[in-house]
């Protein structure tokens, strides 16, 4: 199991930058995006992203819309919602739409790390199951 590949999405660029550095220092691979659109474009380029940390409140395409779009295109990827206190309801709404969990800003980095790990593990399990199913199918079709 390799280190998780993270995408950070937030319109607050300094926040994203610092957070990226800290996560990288903890051994994660990180890519940053500063809007929902940017995130979708970059996801198209980088197919290896495992977990997306997504701010709820953003100008333009907001967190919920972005989440729905991501889940539509890449259902296997896990999303963690990042929210201010005022938007907890939105975050909960996001979980109904398939987000893995939510965290409140400013968040403790250790908690974030453990959540990321959990999400990554879940995604990994899913992938393994899918792989296994594919192999089984492949084996059957080969007709041994």
């Amino acid at each position: 199991m390799t280190a998780p590949y993270i995408m950070l999405v937030d319109d607050e660029v300094p926040f994203v930058e610092t957070m990226s550095k800290r996560l990288v220092k903890r051994g994660l691979k990180v890519i940053a995006a500063d809007s929902g659109n940017d995130a979708l474009v970059k996801l198209g380029q980088e197919s290896k992203v495992d977990v997306i940390i997504l701010d709820v409140k953003m100008p333009g395409m907001d967190g919920l819309e972005t989440l729905q779009e991501i889940k539509k295109r890449y259902p296997i990827k896990e999303v963690i919602m990042l929210t201010g206190h005022a938007t907890v309801e939105t975050a909960i709404e996001g979980m109904k739409l398939g987000a893995f969990d939510y965290l409140m800003k400013p968040c403790d980095l250790d908690i974030l790390m453990s959540k990321v790990q959990e999400a990554f593990k879940k995604k990994h399990e899913h992938e393994s199951k899918i792989d296994k199913a594919r192999i089984d199918k492949l084996v059957l079709t080969r007709g041994y």
């Binding site: 607050e12 926040f15 610092t18 220092k25």
Partner: protein, 562 residues
């Protein structure tokens, strides 16, 4: 200054109301009274005049017929008897007896007087045979006029009387048959005529001398009466009614009619005040009624105006208070919005700051800094930044919850259920503080339509505050609900503790946002202002009483909707 202006405003309002009430009530009352009185006066005058006029008319006829009757008696005697027969004392005495028998003592005596004025024969109580009348006034007039009735005079006998004389011519010589009419008998005709208390009648001759005894003692000069003569002559035999001031300065009412072919006047005189005494009494009654009415009107005008203005004043005061409350509520609402905005805007920078501090911490872990002199200090400073960042976060979270609309969905709820729920939630916490929570709930509370989560928030805030206040001392919190006896159609919730109480200076500001007495970092000062806002929104009221050392009592009134 403002208060002065208000006072003046209410004073002028009171004055205007009083004046309006008085004018509006007085004007019709005065008009009605004046018109009625005037009408009454006119008709009363007419009635009085008519009565007097009729009276005088009747008596005038009486007296005239009395005089004519006496004259006719003597004329009958004269015409039917010759001088020879008449000039006989015995015959005259006989005739006098017959006359006295028929008419009472009206005829005093009878006599025959020759053309030279010597009484030839006489029948009567006095010794007047051969009496000499040639110089007497009546004799001269009687010789000229036939028949003749004299004015009243004293004559030879020194006693008031008057004479009825008839002239006859026989054998070329004139002679007179005369009779004396008793003054008293004649006088009684007039003297018995009385009107009211002061009205009496008398007869005057051309010279203005009394022909009867006036009933009243005083003797007025008769100068004024000359006026009557001219006036009566003008009215031609009708009854004249006039007012005249007599010598005593009293105004009198006179009714005058002419007698004896215009030689005498029959006058009825009555004091005006007496004649119109009924009118005066009526006037007095009217004045008394008017004064009582006026007093009542003035009193009522003052009383009702004062009361009305007092009510208006109270209403104005209420309105003002309401305005203040609305402003207060509005202020709180805008503070809430502001707080929410600030909280949101601050949240992101704080997050960045905390992240940056975290990043520095991460870097410090690298070896090149491990031996750094001030590493310890750096770490402490970073930890502090982290702690304060978290504190900021907590504050912004609370601010946001202050502004954020909690679940405001209205439901029909039993208030006691909410109280029980919150009390059981707080019970654990209370145990740590050595506080016991007691409830006293009225079982028959009606259902009310409120937002349960808002109500929970309010109760939780109040109980938490009480718990905080009694952190060191411990004690009892009493939560009770009942139908309010002070405010009708309200349920009252009372949260009462026996903690240290709240100083008076703080009591006034207790519902202000950001007002707190808790140590820095412990309280945001928003709890009670949230409660205040919620209760206000429900249309209720919240108040607080506190005594230092004895405890604090919060009361919440919530209206019962129908």
């Amino acid at each position: 200054m403002n208060k002065d202006k208000h006072k003046k405003y209410y004073q002028s309002l009171t004055r205007n109301m009083i004046l309006t009430a008085i004018i509006v009530s007085f004007t019709p009352m005065l008009l009605v009274i004046c018109i009625l009185l005037q009408q009454f006066r006119i008709s009363y005058h007419e009635k009085t005049y008519a009565h007097l006029s009729e009276l005088v008319q009747k008596h005038k006829q009486n007296i005239d017929s009395f005089l004519n009757e006496k004259l006719a008696n003597i004329r009958f005697l004269t015409v039917n008897n010759s001088f020879e027969t008449l000039n006989d004392k015995e015959f005259l005495q006989e005739k006098l007896l017959i006359l006295r028998r028929d008419y009472g003592n009206v005829f005093v005596d009878l006599g025959i007087v020759d053309e030279k004025g010597v009484q030839l024969a006489y029948a009567g109580p006095y010794e007047l045979e051969n009496a000499e009348y040639s110089d007497a006034d009546w004799f001269k007039k009687a010789m000229r006029m036939d028949p003749f009735i004299s004015d009243v005079f004293l004559g030879l006998r020194g006693y008031p009387h008057f004479i009825v004389a008839v002239k006859k011519r026989e054998t070329g010589r004139d002679f007179l048959v005369r009779a004396t009419i008793d003054f008293m008998a004649f006088n009684s005709l007039v003297q018995n005529l009385r009107v009211g208390k002061t009205g009496y009648a008398f007869i005057l001759n051309r010279e203005g001398a009394f022909q009867t005894n006036p009933a009243m003692e005083y003797q007025p000069s008769h100068k004024g009466y000359e006026f009557f003569w001219t006036a009566v002559e003008k009215t031609k035999n009708k009854i004249l009614i006039t007012r005249w001031q007599d010598d005593a300065g009293m105004e009198n009412l006179y009714a005058v009619g002419s007698l004896k072919d215009g030689q005498w006047l029959l006058i009825v005189k009555q004091l005006t005040s007496d004649a119109f005494s009924d009118l005066k009494r009526m006037l007095n009654i009217a004045v008394v009624i008017f004064l009582i009415g006026a007093a009542a009107i003035v009193f009522m005008a003052f009383y009702t105006s004062r009361r009305m203005v007092r009510r208006i004043r109270r209403a104005d005061q209420d309105k003002e208070n309401m305005n203040e409350q609305i402003i207060e509520t509005g202020k709180m609402a805008s503070i809430g919005e502001l707080a929410a905005g600030i909280a949101h805007e601050i949240n992101n920078p704080v997050a960045i700051m905390v992240e940056e501090a975290g990043w520095i911490g991460d870097l410090l872990e690298e070896e090149e800094f491990a031996q750094g002199e001030n590493l310890e200090e750096f770490n402490r400073a970073l930890k502090q930044i982290n702690t304060q960042g978290k504190r900021c976060k907590e504050i912004t979270h609370k601010l946001l919850s202050f502004a954020r609309k909690t679940d405001a969905t209205l439901k029909d709820v039993q208030l006691n259920d909410i109280v029980t729920e919150i009390v059981s939630l707080s019970a654990q916490m209370a145990k740590y503080n050595k506080v016991s929570i007691e409830t006293q709930l009225q079982k028959t509370l009606p259902y009310i339509t409120i937002s349960p989560s808002e109500m929970q928030q309010v109760l939780l805030n109040l109980i938490n505050n009480a718990l905080d206040a009694m952190e060191k001392t411990g004690g009892t919190i009493q939560v009770s609900t009942k139908i309010s006896e002070v405010e009708s159609e309200h349920i009252v919730i009372i949260v009462e503790d026996d903690g240290p109480g709240i100083p008076e200076a703080n009591l006034l500001r207790i519902f202000d946002p950001f007002f707190t007495t808790k140590p820095v970092g412990k309280g945001t000062g928003l709890g009670l202002s949230i409660c205040y806002g919620i209760i206000n929104k429900m249309g209720g009221k919240i108040d607080v009483h506190s005594t230092i050392g004895k405890g604090t009592r919060f009361r919440i009134w919530i209206p019962i909707q129908k």
